[in-house]
């Protein structure tokens, strides 16, 4: 080689090395990757690498009829799909000026809160597994399955319910459904002390999670952290209370907060939220029989439906944080533009990269799971 063609390569310092963490790794949620630079087993820097799960939802939605998209949207987030279909339906209703009947609104809240319970139960299992405990995973998934049974009875689908449509919901509750839901809530509540013994007060969790992935309230606000992760830093902030939608302003519930800002606080906030969801569902069981009326507003022929031109931005509180849907119509039969703001777009990229920095390699998985990062929301 001639000297003028020689380009010296920039090698990293010899004490640092790079590790590809994911996309196929038991400590990574979904198909996601982190490129981690390590010094010993301390993380020097981390870089999120998405794209293994990109299915192009936003482009696909522009090519489908308004009504067809209902079957597509829940797929955006697998562990908590219900808020997606509710948000999309609400956006289309805003564009058309449709008034949703009251009974449909209550049924939607019921679906959202049941979905929140399933997502949180899944989350406990995931977080426990990253600290080396596998029993809460089995328990969480088994208890989640009981909620899924009710989803199946109500909607026909276990995970992807496809229960909503612009204007309301597809079916009314089956006979005796509220009794079965009530019994399930009793059961879940009776399980919580056992979860406490196994998981939330377990020293395996507390020693590993306390102080791990800690962020201050100031950092959380700067990085646009929302949902339970923000409430774990001590700020009482919830879309259901600040910007109420559906019938949340008629329901009584508390917004639990924790002060730590670390992985433990994030888990404990979700534990309290599970109780609040049970409380909300109990109120719905009480109120729903007295609310009569249709379950959906009449809509035009859905196969030739020109939604009036305009735009709508819908926010709602999913189990992971603030979910935003920006839908634009130009008066055609298909959406002109749909933009999804998944809460994990922030949590799984900027926040995770910053929190992983300086932590140890074995804690990276725990930080990711404790943020409840959902890669499909990033990839969309």
């Amino acid at each position: 080689m001639r000297a003028e063609n020689y380009e010296p390569k920039q090698h990293p310092p010899s004490h640092e090395y790079e590790l590809n963490f994911g996309p196929n790794h038991p400590g990574i949620e979904g198909n996601y990757a982190l490129k981690v630079k390590l010094h010993g087993d301390t993380v020097v820097s981390a870089r999120a690498d998405a794209g293994y799960l990109h299915r192009g939802f936003e482009k696909l939605m522009e090519q489908r009829l308004w009504i067809q998209n209902i079957a597509l949207v829940p797929r955006i987030c697998v562990p908590d799909p219900s808020p997606m279909e509710v948000a999309y339906s609400m956006a289309v209703e805003q564009l058309c000026g449709l008034d949703v009947p009251e009974r449909a609104q209550w049924l939607r809240v019921m679906q959202l809160e049941m979905s929140r319970i399933t997502a949180h139960l899944f989350y406990f299992g995931g977080h426990a597994a990253t600290t080396g405990m596998y029993n809460p995973m089995f328990w969480g998934v088994a208890d989640r399955d009981l909620v899924l049974d009710l989803f199946e009875e109500l909607t026909g689908g276990r995970v992807y319910c496809i229960y909503n449509m612009p204007g309301g919901v597809r079916r009314d509750i089956p006979e005796g459904f509220l009794d079965r839901l009530s019994r399930l809530l009793d059961y879940l509540e009776s399980r919580l002390p056992e979860y406490d013994n196994l998981f939330f007060t377990n020293h395996v969790l507390i020693n590993r999670a306390k102080g791990t992935g800690q962020m201050s309230q100031h950092q959380a606000l700067e990085w646009a952290v929302t949902g339970p992760n923000l409430r774990a830093t001590g700020l009482q902030c919830d879309v259901r209370r600040d910007d109420p939608y559906l019938v949340y302003d008629e329901l009584e519930f508390d917004i639990p907060v924790e002060q730590g800002g670390d992985a433990l606080a994030r888990t404990l906030v979700r534990r309290s939220e599970l109780q609040q969801s049970i409380r909300i569902l109990r109120q719905i069981i009480q109120r729903l029989p007295s609310i009569k009326g249709p379950i959906r507003a009449p809509i035009p022929n859905p196969l030739a439906w020109n939604v009036p031109a305009g735009e709508a931005y819908v926010r709602l509180e999913s189990s992971k944080g603030e979910l935003g849907w920006y839908v634009v119509s130009n008066g055609g039969q298909k959406p002109y533009r749909v933009h999804v703001r998944g809460p994990s777009s922030m949590h799984a990229v900027q926040v995770l990269e910053n929190l992983a920095k300086g932590s140890r390699l074995e804690d990276v998985a725990q930080i990711m799971f404790s943020l409840d990062a959902c890669p499909p929301e990033v990839d969309r």
């Binding site: 482009k59 990085w223 929302t226 600040d242 926010r315 533009r337 933009h339 703001r341 900027q350």
Partner: protein, 188 residues
């Protein structure tokens, strides 16, 4: 006690802004592209719009423009402001608001990847989702995904020679003609 903030007075300080109150707690601003960073700074500093919810990009191909929408939420006035601005599609360059809002880095990177809009001053414009993609930005309206697939991928041959040979001998996985198929009708 804090003084209540009147958004109307605040926005009167800047000319050329159209304000529309569309629904409860929703406000739409139409801002010329030169003034948008100043408007965001005013909103953040004076009305507590600390939370950048998202930046959306809409491709208005007939008007040869991109529309950028900044969704901001303020707990102080409990309002979601959507600040709309339009930039020319060609060359598609705009200013980053990263120094005001850290989360903007993610959305600007996303828009750069999907629409090809370059944000000056954004910390990271590298590819994120479409790492090995060398085509045009796919979210633009002129991008036809079906044509792209037909141009760049071969259709799978579902009946290769070896399978046809097996089928001639009576095996295989192909759908057989009606008379050879097992059906309830034949049973009866």
């Amino acid at each position: 006690m804090e003084k209540p903030i009147h958004m109307e007075y605040l926005l009167n300080e800047l000319a050329n802004i159209k304000v529309r109150n569309e629904r409860q707690r929703r406000m739409r601003l139409d801002v010329p592209s030169k003034e948008l960073p100043a408007v965001l700074e005013l909103l953040k500093g004076r009305a507590g719009f600390m939370h950048l919810s998202a930046i959306s990009c809409v491709d208005w191909i007939d008007e040869n423009q991109f529309e950028l929408v900044y969704h901001l939420w303020s707990n102080q006035v409990s309002t979601l402001v959507s600040a709309h601005t339009r930039i020319e599609r060609d060359p598609g360059v705009y200013l980053s608001v990263y120094d005001l809002y850290k989360p903007a880095a993610f959305w600007e990177r996303d828009i750069h990847e999907m629409y090809g809009v370059f944000f000056e001053g954004s910390p990271d414009m590298e590819k994120f989702i479409l790492t090995e993609w060398d085509g045009p930005p796919p979210m633009r309206k002129e991008f036809d995904s079906e044509a792209w697939v037909n141009d760049h991928f071969d259709w799978q041959n579902y009946r290769p020679d070896w399978l046809q040979e097996i089928e001639q001998e009576g095996g295989g996985i192909a759908i057989l003609p009606d008379e050879q198929r097992f059906s309830r009708k034949a049973e009866e």
